[in-house]
């Protein structure tokens, strides 16, 4: 599941992930949607943008982890926001990718997170 308030980001991520063989089961443009959609589509992986309006990324991560402690969440953030990334990691995110997104970097992080929790190709 892709969570990002920017259409371009969502499209780019979708393009990259689908090209690599993953299936996108849902999208969300803010935190609340993310939580709702997570329950609905139960993805194997979530990419979460941290700078979203409304319910922020961190809060969304917290709630999703609360509802499903095995949730795999990768946060996407701009450089220079390491505090927020750290926060996210402490709240249960598994890894992170920095913007601007590099295709191979994103895919390697996705594979890493899936591997470590035992899934090959994900519904994300």
């Amino acid at each position: 599941m892709i969570v990002d308030d920017a259409l371009m980001m969502r499209t780019t991520l979708r393009r990259i992930l689908e090209k690599a063989g993953h299936e996108i089961v849902g999208e969300a443009i803010n935190g609340e949607q993310a939580i709702v959609n997570y329950a609905k589509c139960q993805p194997d992986l979530v990419t979460m943008d941290l700078t979203m309006p409304g319910l922020g990324g961190i809060e969304a991560i917290k709630r999703i982890i609360q509802s499903d402690s095995a949730a795999r969440i990768i946060v996407v953030s701009a450089l220079g926001q390491k505090h927020i990334i750290f926060d996210a990691l402490q709240n249960g995110a598994k890894n992170y990718v920095l913007k601007p997104i590099l295709e191979d970097k994103l895919l390697s992080v996705v594979d890493l997170v899936l591997e470590q929790t035992g899934r090959a190709a994900a519904k994300g």
């Binding site: 259409l7 371009m8 499209t11 990334i85 750290f86 402490q90 992170y96």
Partner: protein, 1093 residues
């Protein structure tokens, strides 16, 4: 069985030895002493007893004495009392004897008074005697019996007293059988016997009287009977006594026998006398009395002897007792002393040994192993002491051994420590020289003691124990907190992947005291405690590197600048010149124009903006920055003050910006370029460097001075020097646009200019084309939507911008289009009003086309922010200005949501078209010259001359000798003269030209042909009117070849084959039809073909 002794053992266990011994000793001594005392006292008692008995015996003896005397007295007294007065004196003397005997008794009593309490009785007796004595002589005959009885009674008292004494002196209670019998005899029997005897004796006196009454006779017989019975008793007693005591037997037997013999005789006699009348024998009184006296004497003796014997016995007994007592005392006492002595000795020996052992072990316990116990005794204690000594010996040995090992280990330890120190030092040395700072820290986040020296260099101080986050970010508390949190998480996180993620969050580069420090992080697992982890930092001073990188980057920038300048050198030089021109003339002129200040400012702005863009494109950073500043200043003036200024005041305001100052802005960049490219770049050899202005001058001169016909020949060529296809002028926008798009987070495809082959005068169109940059910029910045919008509206993410330069009859139309969002007239109107470009009233009646044209107005800008490239509202107005200068017009077609298209129509002012002059013009003259020379000077008849086109990319077959002649000038090309050997030899023979005799044959051939080629050329040129300076020959190369060929892949190769009689010469011209590439603004002409020979 031992449990019986438990209490004793326990008690003993609780006591110290002193007490043990004291207790036992005391008990022994006490007990012995008590026993001895008791024995001795018992013995003493017995002795006292015996002594008392002896006293008693003495008393009894005295009393016996008294008794005897008294008995004798009685008899005498009786006799006296019977009428025998002759006896008076005897009675009195007998009384005196009795007194004496009494006195003795009294004496003894005095002595014995302490032991016996008889004195009162004795005194009574005495009193009674005294009474008796007083009455003694007063008895008459009739009262003889009474006197006798009174005496008897007094005798009875004496006997009673004797018995009393016997009791008091314990004589009567003597435990010894013999003695008690004797005592009994002495105290009772004998006195009884004596009494009876004396009674009988006394009474026997009656027998003198023949007329004794029968009663008296009977009484006498009774008394005799009593005597006999008494004697029996005595005898019985004696028998008992005699049983086993030899001493007694010895002493008394005889007497006893006497007694036993004599008394019966007397008794018989008495009896006989008594019973004479009845038939008894006539016994004379004297016999009777004698028998009686004998008997009495025997009795007295016996009695006395018995008393003596008793006394003796007692003495013996006492002696025995004393002996016994002494033995006991001495013996037992002695033993007791001995026992005590031995016991004390035992005590002392034991205690000494025990204390010694105690002491020894105490000393040993405190560490002094030198003490040993002396072996005092040969018993268990001694062996124990021995054993302990041995133990201590071995302990001491062990201790010494331990000490030895200990000291050895100390030594080893020190060695090891030294080794460790050395190792540590060498490691530290290693680390210190590694040039990197190594430090590590654990959970406490403080620097641990061992870190490399480089750290000190980096942080400028010793850093032991310093908190690491504070070290990394000395001033930024937030970052410190962040670091602390991340470090702690890393150290405690078990999941390795998460750890890696956290590690990646840590800063990789930090600034310490204006140095760049690169930081690498390593997690170290502690060897001993896996749970404890440490983080190691590897710090590398990157300042130098960074500086170098910066330098490299600067160099790269410079290089980029240089490359760009070199590859677009024409643009570069043009821009520089333009700029200098502007600074020196353009701006001052502008400022002094009599125009409203606002217009001047606007124009100035536009120009500066364009220059800035141009220099930006040329990568001339310094001047671009300065121009940007200037723009800022102008903007400031425009927005704040322009309304109040007139042009003079404006000029004043800008007076600081003198030409000198502004040209100086270029200096920095130019300096670098000159450095890199050399002065030569600005002036190159073998190339004619003409600047455009010069060429223009020439053009004008030509136009002015030369006749039209010649003009038409010259001008095109001149112009051709400068002209370029318009697409060349526009092509660089492709790259520019793509880059610009990227910077604005958009994307466009690169584009090629459609058509655009028309040759144009760059000078004329330069400004305009430069201003087109604004159009492109606008397309990118305003026209093109963001990715999202594009995707949302279903467009491709990557935008498409096109540029075409179409030639049609009136002129050239440059079409720039984008597939962006188009322009919204309403929006344009809004901005126009906002920016004050037109009043709200005037817009009411505007047509759409008019509205859209508003974008060209001064100050119109839809951008929010001003940056170096956009937003000033200057761009499109600059375009319009340029367009006006060229007399052109613009048409804008825009569709909201689909895109915008700008059409700029640029009319031709003069016939621009002209043919490029090519080398072909030279062909005919060359061939004719060749022919002529051959004919005239060499003497070779030309038979045929065939011409072949020569295809592009064709091969040129070379003959034996070939000369290559490069032609430069208005046109470039190459003449290839290839001749058969025979022909050349012919030339040689004719001494055509100067032949060098010394050179080889081959060389001669080459030389001659070269000269021939040269001559041809010169001739050919001469034939061209007014063209001498136009062409030069260069690079004459001659070669000998066999069956070689030259290939010119991109050139045309028209060839004339001149067939002489002896051989053939071919003359070829190599040239490219497209010469535009090789001609640039400066009029440099260089050959750009690939020659492959």
């Amino acid at each position: 069985m031992t449990y019986l002794f438990e209490p004793a053992i326990r008690l003993m266990n609780r006591l110290k030895y002193v007490y043990k011994f004291a207790v036992i000793g005391l008990l022994i001594v006490l007990q012995a002493a008590v026993l001895i005392y008791m024995l001795v006292s018992e013995l003493n008692k017995n002795i006292d007893f015996a002594v008392r008995e002896r006293v008693g015996v003495q008393y009894v003896q005295a009393l016996t004495n008294v008794l005897n005397e008294a008995q004798a007295y009685r008899s005498l007294h009786y006799d006296y009392s019977r009428g025998n007065n002759s006896r008076r004196e005897e009675v009195l003397s007998q009384q005196a004897k009795v007194d004496a005997a009494l006195a003795t008794a009294v004496e003894i009593d005095k002595q014995a008074a302490g032991q016996m309490d008889i004195t009162w009785k004795l005194e009574m007796l005495q009193k009674d005697w005294v009474a008796q004595k007083q009455a003694a002589l007063q008895f008459d005959v009739g009262r003889a019996q009474v006197a006798f009885d009174l005496d008897s009674r007094w005798l009875g008292e004496v006997i009673d007293l004797m018995q009393h004494v016997g009791y008091e002196s314990k004589l009567a209670m003597d435990s010894d059988a013999d003695t008690s019998y004797l005592a009994d005899s002495v105290l009772r029997k004998m006195p009884g016997l004596e009494d009876n005897l004396n009674t009988a004796q006394g009474l026997a006196l009656q027998l003198q009287d023949e007329s004794l009454s029968p009663d008296n006779r009977n009484r006498l017989l009774q008394v005799v009977g009593q005597v006999r019975s008494s004697l029996e008793q005595v005898d019985r007693n004696a028998q008992l006594v005699f049983r086993h005591n030899d001493m007694i037997i010895t002493k008394l037997k005889t007497l006893h026998t006497n007694l036993v013999d004599s008394i019966p005789i007397f008794a018989w006699n008495v009896e006989q006398k008594t019973i004479r009348q009845q038939g008894g024998l006539p016994i004379p009184q004297e016999l009777l009395t004698a028998a009686g006296n004998q008997a009495i004497q025997n009795t007295i003796v016996m009695h006395t002897e018995e008393l003596k014997v008793i006394d003796q016995l007692l003495v013996i007994r006492i002696g025995q007792y004393l002996q016994y007592r002494n033995i006991i005392v001495f013996f037992t006492g002695g033993i007791l002393l001995l026992v005590s002595y031995l016991f004390l000795g035992f005590d002392m020996s034991v205690r000494r040994a025990v204390y010694q052992l105690d002491n020894v072990m105490a000393c040993a316990g405190t560490g002094d192993l030198n003490v040993r116990g002396t072996i005092y005794s040969r018993d268990e204690m001694g062996s124990l002491t021995n054993a302990i000594n041995n133990t201590l010996d071995s302990l001491q040995t062990m201790y010494e051994e331990v000490q030895l090992s200990h000291s050895r280990m100390e030594a080893w330890n020190q060695e090891l420590e030294q080794k460790v120190e050395e190792r540590t030092a060498s490691l530290k040395n290693l680390l210190d020289h590694a040039g990197q700072g190594f430090l590590s820290f654990g959970e406490d986040l403080s620097v641990r003691g061992e870190y490399s020296a480089e750290c000190v260099a980096i942080f400028n101080r010793a850093i032991t124990g310093v908190a690491v986050p504070a070290l990394i970010y000395p001033e930024d508390r937030d970052q410190q907190v962040f670091l602390e949190a991340v470090f702690k998480k890393i150290l405690s996180e078990e999941n390795e992947l998460l750890r890696e993620t956290y590690l990646s969050l840590l800063p990789e580069e930090i600034m310490i005291d204006s140095s760049y420090i690169g930081v690498a992080y390593k997690l170290i697992d502690s060897i001993t405690t896996p749970a404890q982890r440490k983080i190691m930092l590897v710090l590398t001073d990157l300042t130098v590197q960074k500086t170098m990188e910066d330098q490299v980057q600067a160099e790269r920038d410079i290089l980029a600048m240089v490359v760009y300048v070199v590859t677009h050198s024409a643009d570069f030089f043009a821009a520089v010149d333009q700029y200098i021109n502007f600074c020196q003339e353009g701006m001052p002129n502008l400022l002094h124009e009599e125009k409203p200040a606002g217009d001047i400012l606007a124009a100035l702005f536009r120009t500066v903006h364009t220059f800035k863009g141009t220099f930006g494109q040329l990568r001339l950073g310094c001047v671009m920055a300065k121009l940007h500043e200037m723009e800022g200043l102008l903007e400031h003036i425009r927005s704040n003050e322009i309304a109040d200024l007139d042009h003079r005041q404006l000029a004043n305001k800008l007076s600081a910006l003198t030409p000198a100052v502004m040209t100086a802005w270029l200096d920095e960049d130019l300096k670098i370029l000159k450095e890199k490219l050399g002065e030569d770049f600005f002036q190159q050899e073998n190339m004619l460097v003409i600047d455009n202005a010069r060429l223009l001058e020439i053009e004008e001169k030509v136009q002015r001075m030369l006749p039209v016909a010649e003009c038409s020949l010259l001008l095109p060529d001149l112009r051709r020097l400068r002209y370029k296809p318009i697409k060349e002028l526009l092509q660089s926008y492709s790259g520019y646009v793509v880059a610009l798009a990227e910077r604005n987070e958009k994307a466009v495809y690169p584009f090629d200019i459609v058509e655009g082959d028309t040759l144009v005068d760059p000078l004329r169109y330069d400004d305009f084309i430069k201003s087109l940059g604004h159009v492109f910029r606008n397309s990118i910045v305003h026209g093109l939507e963001s990715f999202e919008e594009r995707v949302e509206t279903g467009k491709a993410e990557i935008g498409r911008i096109t540029c075409a330069a179409i030639e049609n009859q009136p002129g050239i139309t440059i079409i720039i289009s984008d597939d962006g969002r188009g322009m919204d007239p309403a929006h344009i109107l809004d901005i126009a009003v906002k920016k004050g470009i037109c009043s709200p009233e005037s817009i009411k009646n505007m047509q759409e086309k008019e509205i859209i044209q508003l974008i060209f107005a001064d100050g119109f800008s839809g951008a929010e922010n001003v940056n170096e490239l956009a937003g000033r509202g200057v761009g499109l107005s600059a375009v319009r200005a340029e367009l006006e200068k060229l007399g052109g017009s613009a048409i804008i077609n825009t569709t909201l949501g689909k895109g915008t298209e700008f059409q700029f129509i640029l009319p031709f002012t003069q016939p621009e078209k002209c043919e490029p002059y090519s080398i072909l013009q030279l062909a005919k003259p060359l061939v004719s010259a060749a022919e002529n020379i051959l004919n005239n000077e060499v003497g070779l008849q030309l038979n045929t001359c065939t011409y072949s086109e020569g295809r592009v990319g064709g091969k040129l077959k070379l003959r034996k000798v070939t000369t290559f002649l490069d032609i430069k000038g208005i046109a470039t090309g190459r003449m290839v003269l290839s001749a058969d050997q025979e022909v050349v030899e012919q030339l040689v023979n004719n001494r055509f030209g100067q032949a060098d005799i010394e050179s080889t044959h081959d060389k001669k051939l080459e030389n001659i042909l070269s000269q021939y080629a040269n001559q041809i050329f010169q001739h050919a040129i001469k034939t061209l009117p007014n063209r001498e300076a136009s062409f030069t020959a260069e690079a004459l190369v001659s070669i000998l070849a066999e069956a070689a060929s030259a290939k010119y892949p991109q050139a045309e190769t028209p060839t004339w084959v001149l067939d002489t009689g002896v051989g053939k010469i071919t003359l070829s011209l190599i040239y490219k039809t497209m010469l535009s590439k090789t001609i640039n603004n400066k009029g440099e002409i260089n050959g750009g073909t690939n020659y492959d020979c």
